[in-house]
């Protein structure tokens, strides 16, 4: 046992620290901030799904906002109209979206990368108007208001016992989201380490070679779409929980762009990337609007331009700069820096080691 603890790679300890950080977070921040972090984790789940599709299986989707909408509305309709317990609707929403994603992946097989990007982008733009159409079901433009969840007694008792304060609705939402995030990330980690993940990466890196090696291209590609949609669906369902309201305007094309930004900035084809990317993508608009004007060291004209331009300019600039200078995102930068540091520390001269470079890969 002690032997195993001593030989676990350092990054496992890092993971443990991060998990503990997230578990303890609500105790040191305001209640409403827990709600904000819950939304960031929701994005992280959706970005993880996008990452599985884009980073690991090499298929582009610019329309994951649409899958989130499907998941969110499934849960909202089941909870609001059929009075189901909201937590029970989450896996249902995920499953339904996953199946739809799988079915979507079938015609997607025929589309080359560029065309798939085009088609999914068009889907993202069309999503709000598609939601409005079945107004009977979706509430149309009125949207569906979801009552804030009441924390169950076991949770609030445990929380009060540990921290001395009552568990608020926002904090409970945060913990539900965190639980799903941990489970889904763990599943994704297992997926990429084992057979399916290897097959997907083989397809991504060289489809023809993979086919020649006997990998079932169609099967794995559609599977990737299905899993990716499942993640987005669960994220959408949790989104409804965190925001408390779903309507056509909550799923604009900007959401799909936000997911893409998060995936790219965090680092495609990496497991920690989506978390970092989600935190960046979620908090950037809020902070650029509020934090930037208060920083006196930023020259006034730049600050007011950033404020007026909104997050769009920053997103755009970040996307471009990241793809040019750091295509592997933050995780890529960290890993490159880390391996360089390690090389320096060990006294190994900088030269190609001849090994296959580890993920994250160049896209």
């Amino acid at each position: 046992m002690i032997q195993r603890i001593r030989t676990t790679p350092p990054r496992y300890w890092l993971v443990l620290v991060v998990v503990l950080f997230f578990i303890g977070l609500p105790t040191v921040i305001d209640s409403f901030q827990s709600g904000e972090w819950a939304q960031a984790l929701v994005l992280a789940i959706a970005i993880m799904g996008l990452n599985i599709l884009v980073g690991y299986s090499g298929q582009i989707s610019l329309g994951h906002g649409a899958f989130m909408a499907i998941g969110a509305y499934t849960s909202a309709i089941l909870a609001h109209r059929y009075k189901m317990d909201y937590l029970a609707t989450i896996p249902i929403a995920g499953l339904l979206t996953g199946i739809l994603g799988f079915l979507f992946g079938v015609p997607a097989l025929r589309l080359s990368a560029l065309y798939l990007a085009l088609a999914t982008f068009a889907l993202a733009v069309v999503t709000p108007s598609l939601i409005k159409r079945p107004a009977e079901l979706t509430g149309g433009v009125q949207g569906i208001v979801l009552l804030p969840p009441v924390p169950p007694t076991f949770a609030s008792d445990t929380f009060s016992a540990l921290t001395g304060t009552a568990l608020t609705s926002d904090q409970w939402t945060y913990y539900v989201t965190l639980a799903w995030t941990l489970v889904l990330f763990w599943l994704a980690w297992n997926l990429v380490r084992h057979r399916a993940g290897r097959a997907m990466r083989a397809i991504r890196d060289g489809e023809v070679a993979a086919a020649a090696s006997g990998v079932n291209i169609a099967g794995y590609k559609t599977l990737a779409f299905g899993i990716s949609a499942l993640y987005a669906g669960i994220a959408g369902s949790l989104f409804g929980l965190a925001v408390g309201f779903v309507s056509p305007d909550t799923f604009p094309v900007a959401l799909s762009i936000q997911l893409l930004v998060g995936a790219v900035v965090g680092g495609l084809a990496s497991i920690p990337g989506p978390i970092i990317g989600a935190i960046f993508a979620y908090f950037l608009p809020i902070e650029s609007n509020q934090w930037v004007p208060t920083q006196t060291w930023i020259p006034g004209s730049i600050a007011s331009t950033i404020e007026k331009a909104g997050p769009a300019v920053t997103y755009g600039a970040v996307l471009i700069l990241t793809m040019i200078f750091a295509p592997n995102g933050v995780v890529g930068l960290v890993l490159t820096g880390y391996s360089r540091l390690r090389g320096r520390l060990r006294g190994v001269p900088d030269r190609e080691s001849g090994q296959m470079p580890p993920d994250p890969h160049t896209v």
Partner: protein, 412 residues
Amino acid sequence: MTKFGSRIAGITALFIALAACGGSNTPAAQTDVGVTSNSILLGNTIAQSGAAAAYGTIANGELAYFTYINNTQGGVNGRKITFKILDDAYNPAQTVPLTKQLVEQDKVFAMFSGLGTQAQTSVRDYLNAQKVPQLFVATGATTFMLDYSKYKYSIGWQPPYQGEARIYAKDILANHAGAKIGILYQNDDYGQDYLKGLTDGLGSSASMIVDKESYDVTATSTAAQLVKLKASGADTLFLFTTPGFTIPALVTVTKLGWAPAIYLNAVSNPEVYMGIAAKNGAALKNVTSVGYIKDPTDPQWASDSGMQLYKTVIANCTTCNVNDGFNIYGVAVAYTMVDVLKQAGSNMTRANVVNIATSGLNESNNPFLLPGVVVKTTSSDHFPITQEQVITWNGTGWSSQGGLVDERGTIK
């Protein structure tokens, strides 16, 4: 602690005790969260970026008026108004956390003039549960005034869309009883609310509507819908559309060789938009609309004292276009807000302010609204503005037809 230090501590404690006793003797003025002895903090979420950003200047107008009040009158009863504006990009997913932040972290006294039906609906339950006033939301969606019994802390300000449509219905029934009505409406809460108002207002004559066509904001052109409306034989056309679609629609109607009587809604009627339509070929014959607020581009108000005041006020905003109708809207609703705060006087609590706004408003001197328009709420009627003036286009400007029409009490 040294002897000197403990003596200081003792004297300090004595003073504190005296102060505490003294405090409890004088009757303290009632205040609430977000109110200090010299400031009131109001919060706002509005679209300052993205597709709806054109509306964002409303908050600029409001801020300009609060600045004016702070500078010329020292605020309200000695309290300066601080106005915190956050950008939610018209997306309820952002409105929710930003509103919660304003309430729980910035601890605003009240939310004021939040923009967008979906956005404000998404936070209405929360604000009412927290007993934070959701005052004078920037939308004409009827629900904010109609559903008072369920949401006692929320109130709108501008005339409800349904009310405006009812005025059109009255006008049609009175002046064009045999009309065949065609409607082009935007398929969102805005357009649908107008449609309901018109249909309800026509009542048993709703069969006058021969065709109604909707469009989504992602459409490039409404020509197809207008072709169909023309083919339906309609001789009266309603445009329940936002300006970006109203102007091309007016042009298309003329282009199709169709000359129906046109009713277009208040948001689209500023003279500058009509000018653009005319330049692009719209005939603009027989166009009717309603208004309740003074249009800065209307020459009849050029020397009006209210308009002069508006121009003085809006000068506080360096990036604002004085001719933008949204700016005068912001100034007008801010005027009402200040009125409410003045009425609250020393009882500056949320409950009192909400009570005044939803049930005790009686403002008849708003210099930015048309003469005669009152902003009024009572315990049984929670529609602040219900009067509008029917106007028709005379080729170069709008002319008033008759007096103000009041829809108070008609919407149940």
